[in-house]
Every structure is written in C-alpha cells, then in structure tokens.
C-alpha cells in the first residue's frame, strides 16, 4: 500500500499542467459548444497535441499506439482534464473504454483501423445505448438489427446520446436476438455518423448543448464486418465497458475544483467566518477525498489486470454525491448572489451525473448484490 506518486508521475503531472496552460486560456472552463465545427476543431487540436506527446493513450500497449505506461497515468490525465471541462471533448471515452473494447473484442483488422486513429486523436465517438423505453433496464432495448446476407438492417431509435453533433462514429447497441432475449440477444455495431439511414435531433438540455440527442435508424444497412465482437455478445462488451465508464471521468476532482471556487467566494463574502459554513466546507472536502480513494481502488485493480468489480459502483456514487453536495453548498454560500450565476443549473447539471452511466439506484443495486452479497430482490 502506497498512497504517494512516484517522482516520474509527479513530473508528468507538472508537464501536463504546463501543456494545458499553454494550450488553453487561463481559467478555461469548457468549450462553447454552440458552434459545433469550432468546438470539434478545438477539441481535436488539443487531443492531437496530446497525441504528439504520446499522452493520449500512454497506458495502452505499444502495439496499439500506446506507451505501455501504468493505468495511473490515465488517472492523472483525467484528474487534470475533467475538472476544467474536458478539453479532449468526447475523446475522453476513446482512451477509457472504446479503445480497450476494441483491444478485447475487436478483429485484427478493426484494431488496426481504429486504434491507431484513436491514439492519434483523430476520431470522436458517441455511445448509442439508451432508448426511450430502455433506460435503467438497458437489456430491454428494442432497436432491431436483422441479418440479411452480409448486412444487418437496423431500425429503431436511441435517446439521450451525448456528443452526437461532433461524433464520427457511433458505438451502437442493437437487438439481434428474439424480442424477449434481453441480455442474450444484443450486438455491438460500429456505425459512421454519416451513414445512410441515420438521422438525429438535438435535445436542448440544461446539462450542456452536446448532452442529449435522439438518433433514428431507418433501414440502415450495416455490413457484418462493422460488428464488434460476436453476434449476441454485446452485453458482455457493455458490462465491461460500463464499469470503466463509471470512473472514466474524475468527477471527485471536478467537485474539488468547484469546491475551491466556492471557498474563494466564501472568503470574499465573509461566509468562511461562519462556523457552520466552514464545517460544511470541511465535510464536502472530505467527501471529495473519499471518492478519490474509492476511485483509486478501481485504477489499482485495472493496473493489476483484474476484471472490474463493484468498486466502480462505490466510486461512482461517492463521486456524484460529492458533486451534488458541492453544488448545494455553493448556493448556500452565495445566497441571493446565486441568482446572478448559473448556480441553479449547476445543481441540476451535477445531479445529471447521478443518472448518466447508470442511475445511482442501479449502482446501489450492484453494491448491495456484488459488494455486500445481499440476496436478490426478485
């Protein structure tokens, strides 16, 4: 057990901070996503800059364009990028779970094609999982993919998909089994966003302009080679990917940065002198720190090469709780002044993370069953 960073890791963090300072304006807190081409170009520029330094996929094996570094490098990277508003845009998903999904389930050809491009910072993804009637109960999804010769014919729709406006590819889940086959009949298809039969609609969202889209598939014809993994193996891919997704962004660190902004304001407006507020600041800080170590436990397992466990669910709930706590505290510190800021939106936006990647209740289910070993409710 060792809670410190190695000198190399510390040095890397410093270099990374210097790079960020160089690449982004001081105090940068996220892109303006309303101008999509400009947003995408900026996120791409940033990602390629990281790729040139070998930082984008450094923890991948060298054969796939990585640097064979430890998983902790990715942890440091996310800790620096998530809080300020993720300058990689949706490319953060690539490194975290899309690339690894190809490594694990892809054909040699798919690996050759996609992994190099991901490592170079060239492509953006979106995650087409949720449907109007399949949210928490993802295994009930209904978007159909019917095999006709060497193609799948896809019909159906997805909803709440983030990053669609900038994505080059969709990581799509479709039903290939019988309608009631649930987890046994799902397949992953990789579909370019400009593919015929594929339309989309943006849904205005408090969580951000690129947060939510609806996607529709009308007799979209997908070559069989675009399938990732075997037919009906999709659930295995998803279960595995989601456990990584849950800790793919350093939300505890985002909460910590928001908290330090709050404390700055509390020191300016005198609220910091209030013992009750100071106590709540200490409480919020402790919550961020606990979520951090719970997340580190997940990286530790990843570093060991162990399969993901319920530790991801512990980390996720702890992190989203921390975010919610800080948003509430921020309002209380600002008082009426909060009306001038987007504080109310922040509360809702921070809360949205307790829904994405599995609602808190779903995470708690997993903890109850897998971590505590409690009996199933049904």
């Amino acid at each position: 057990m060792e809670f410190g960073w190695s000198a190399e890791d510390e040095a890397y963090r410093d270099e990374l901070r210097a790079f960020i300072q160089d690449a982004l304006p001081a105090g940068w807190r996220g892109y303006d996503q309303t101008d999509r081409p400009a947003y995408k170009a900026a996120a791409e520029r940033f990602s390629r800059g990281m790729a040139e330094r070998g930082w984008l996929t450094q923890n991948w094996p060298t054969e796939y364009g990585g640097g064979d570094c430890s998983a902790w490098r990715q942890c440091i990277l996310t800790e620096e990028l998530t809080p300020i508003g993720e300058p990689r845009g949706s490319q953060y998903m690539n490194v975290n779970w899309i690339g690894p999904a190809f490594m694990r389930f892809g054909t040699e050809e798919q690996k050759r094609y996609y992994l190099r491009r991901i490592a170079a910072g060239d492509i953006f993804w979106c995650q087409g999982f949720s449907e109007p009637d399949a949210g928490s109960d993802l295994a009930s999804l209904r978007t159909r993919a019917v095999r006709v010769g060497d193609e799948y014919v896809v019909n159906g729709s997805k909803i709440w998909t983030s990053h669609v406006g900038v994505a080059d590819y969709c990581f799509l889940l479709a039903r290939t089994g019988e309608p009631d086959s649930r987890a046994r009949g799902i397949t992953v298809l990789i579909v370019p966003m400009d593919h015929p039969g594929f339309t989309r609609r943006n849904i205005a969202s408090l969580a951000g302009d690129e947060s939510h889209y609806e996607m529709f598939f009308d007799d979209m014809r997908v070559p069989v080679e675009w399938r990732l993994g075997e037919e009906n193996q999709g659930w295995e891919v998803v279960r595995w990917a989601l456990q990584y997704e849950r800790v793919g962004t350093a939300q505890y660190q985002r909460a910590a940065l928001q908290l330090s902004d709050v404390v700055g304001k509390a020191q300016d407006n005198g609220a910091f002198e209030d013992p009750e507020i100071r106590s709540r600041i200490g409480e919020a800080w402790a919550t961020c720190r606990a979520a951090r170590l719970l997340t580190y436990k997940v990286y530790d397992l990843r570093e060991e090469g162990s399969p993901p466990t319920a530790d991801s669910n512990l980390a996720r709930v702890a992190s989203t709780d921390a975010l919610k706590g800080v948003a509430q505290l921020s309002r209380d510190v600002l008082g009426e002044e909060a009306l001038e800021h987007d504080q109310a939106v922040d509360v809702i936006r921070n809360g949205g993370l307790a829904i994405a990647a599995g609602a808190t209740e779903i995470q708690l289910d997993r903890i109850a069953l897998d971590f505590l070993g409690l009996p199933r409710s049904r």
């Binding site: 106590s279 580190y296 702890a318 409690l374």
Partner: protein, 321 residues
C-alpha cells in the same frame, strides 16, 4: 500509488486477525462490558507478538500499525491499542506497553480510563504525560456498554511530564488518525454484523436484506465505511499530515452517525437490547465521535488546513491531490 496490501502487510493483518479471533470479538467484549473492565489480557497478547511496536519496527511504519488498529476496533477489542501502537510511538518516539490514552483537557472524561495507563493531554501547544494508576481515576460511566470512561484526579497531574512546544500539534494529528482508524474499524464491524443479520432474518417470507429499500441504505453504508477506511489509512501512511488527519477524522466521525442509526434500524427491536451485541460497536462509535471537538471540529479543522493558503484558490487546478 498502490492500494492493495504488500505480502508483508497481508501477513500483519492475517496474524493480528487470527490473534483477535481467539482473544477479542463480541463474546469477549460482552463479558467485559458487564464489569466495565479493560482487557489487559488482550494487550498482553498483542504486546507479546510485537504488534504495539509496528510503527517503529524495521520495514514497517504507522500504516502497518493503523492496519492492525483497524482490526482491533473491528473486533471490538477493549484495548487502547491505537494509543499504544500509533499515538505513543509517533508522538513520544517510543512504543508503549501500557494502555495509552488521550485527553483534550486535564479534567475531561477519558476513553478507556480507569487503570494503570499513560495519559497524554493537550495543554496549549504542549503535551502533558502522566503515568496513572488505578487510584488516580474517578470512573464516570457505568452504563454497561461502550468503552469504560474515567476522569483523572487532579493529584495525578502533579506528576506530569511536559513535552516541548509543538508536541500538542503532533498529538492532535495522530489522535485524529487514531480516531479515524478506530471509527473505520468499528463501522466495519457494525456493518458486517448488520449484513449478516438482514440476510438471515426473514419477514414476509423473505430475507429483509432482499428489500431494495434496505439494500440501498446498506450500500450507502458500504461506501461510507470503505471511504473512511481508505482516508484513515492514507493519513497514517502520510505521517498524520495535518490536513489529511483532519479530513480522515471528519469523514469517519460524520459517517458514524449514519452507521449507528441505520444498523440499529435494520435490527429492529433486538438491536436495542443488551443481549444482542450491536451496541458494542455503536456505543463506541458514538463515544469516539465526541472526542477532540467532534465531527464539526474535525470538519472545520479540515477546511482551515486545506484552504488556509489562499494562493491555492487562485490556481486553475484543484488543491492538494
């Protein structure tokens, strides 16, 4: 960064756990609680195996001592092991083979007081240390649960040794680590007992632990319990760095409220009885929670220590990773 135990640390944990299985645990604690006695026999065995000396032992350190202290608390040892194995070596520079107790003032109640022991008290920026004997104590609680508590008579403080300026800060920091690790261990013990209970107890023809309303609340306790443990271990590893020690104590003592309330709730009536052992953990949690300024005190200390440097707030990055 490496969160799992080294083989050597695993050995320490295994060895201390096997000792505690034989010489501590709920049955033993239930006997002792009847008379309010301290477990000198347990101390003797821990000392015989050298566990009290882990913090200063070659190849070990305060982290190993904290790992052992966690197990002692989890197994409701009626021992001041945390004081002996963590606080004494790290504050006084030598391990203590006597029960080592901590006090915020010279007149306040002291956890596990009542017998021959070393008592360390905060006095301004200094530490006072007294070798106390049975005659020096006035017992204060006879409620037949929790740790025994007693108050030192004024006569004892006349013999106190005084440690130099700065020693109080060290005591405060290590005591917070001790509070954090003891609380984390007690939380784990209470949670384990409760999980076992809800799996076995049936109502409506099914285990009460299969109701989602129960499961989710227990899952939250698991998050708190694990979070408390990691923070406590980190603070021990970091040599009781003041901000980390305060953060760990703030998190653990704050979480203790939830554990106590929920574990009792899920036990129904049996949990409120003296015959059932849940109170062994929960009473102790509530006692430790009150020490040294309590939850709000630790939280404010964490806020002050983390954010005292205003420069931190001007950075575009979050503080102190």
């Amino acid at each position: 960064m490496r969160l799992n135990l080294t083989p050597e640390q695993q050995q320490v944990v295994d060895a201390v756990t096997s000792l505690l299985e034989r010489h501590a645990g709920k049955d033993r604690a239930m006997q002792l609680v009847e008379t309010g006695a301290y477990d000198l026999d347990l101390d003797a065995r821990l000392i015989e195996s050298g566990f009290h000396d882990l913090a200063l032992m070659e190849g070990c350190g305060p982290l190993e001592a904290a790992l052992a202290a966690y197990e002692v608390a989890r197994n409701v040892g009626v021992s001041a092991f945390g004081g002996m194995a963590l606080v004494a070596p790290m504050v006084l520079g030598e391990a203590s083979a006597q029960p080592t107790l901590m006090a915020t003032t010279q007149t306040g109640p002291v956890r596990l007081g009542g017998g021959d022991s070393v008592v360390l008290a905060l006095d301004g920026d200094q530490v006072l240390a007294v070798d106390a004997t049975v005659e020096d104590w006035d017992p204060v609680n006879r409620n037949r649960s929790g740790f025994p508590v007693a108050r030192l008579k004024a006569q004892a403080w006349v013999r106190a040794r005084r440690f130099g300026p700065g020693s109080a800060a060290r005591l405060r920091d290590w005591w917070r680590v001790e509070i954090a690790i003891t609380t984390a261990g007690l939380m784990r013990g209470a949670l384990d007992l409760t999980v076992a209970y809800v799996v076995q107890r049936k109502q409506f023809g099914r285990p009460i632990g299969s109701f989602q309303a129960v499961q989710h609340r227990l899952a939250r306790l698991a998050i708190l319990t694990e979070g408390a443990r990691w923070l406590a271990l980190e603070s021990a590893w970091a040599g009781a760095r003041p901000d980390l020690a305060a953060t760990a104590a703030a998190f653990a003592t704050g979480a203790a409220d939830h554990i106590v309330r929920e574990c009792h709730q899920f036990h129904g009536a049996i949990g409120v009885t003296r015959e059932y052992p849940l109170h062994l953990w929960t009473q102790r949690l509530l006692q430790v929670q009150q020490e040294m300024g309590g939850v709000a005190g630790h939280r404010r200390a964490a806020a002050d220590l983390v954010f005292q440097d205003k420069a931190v707030l001007k950075l575009s990055v979050a503080p102190a990773v």
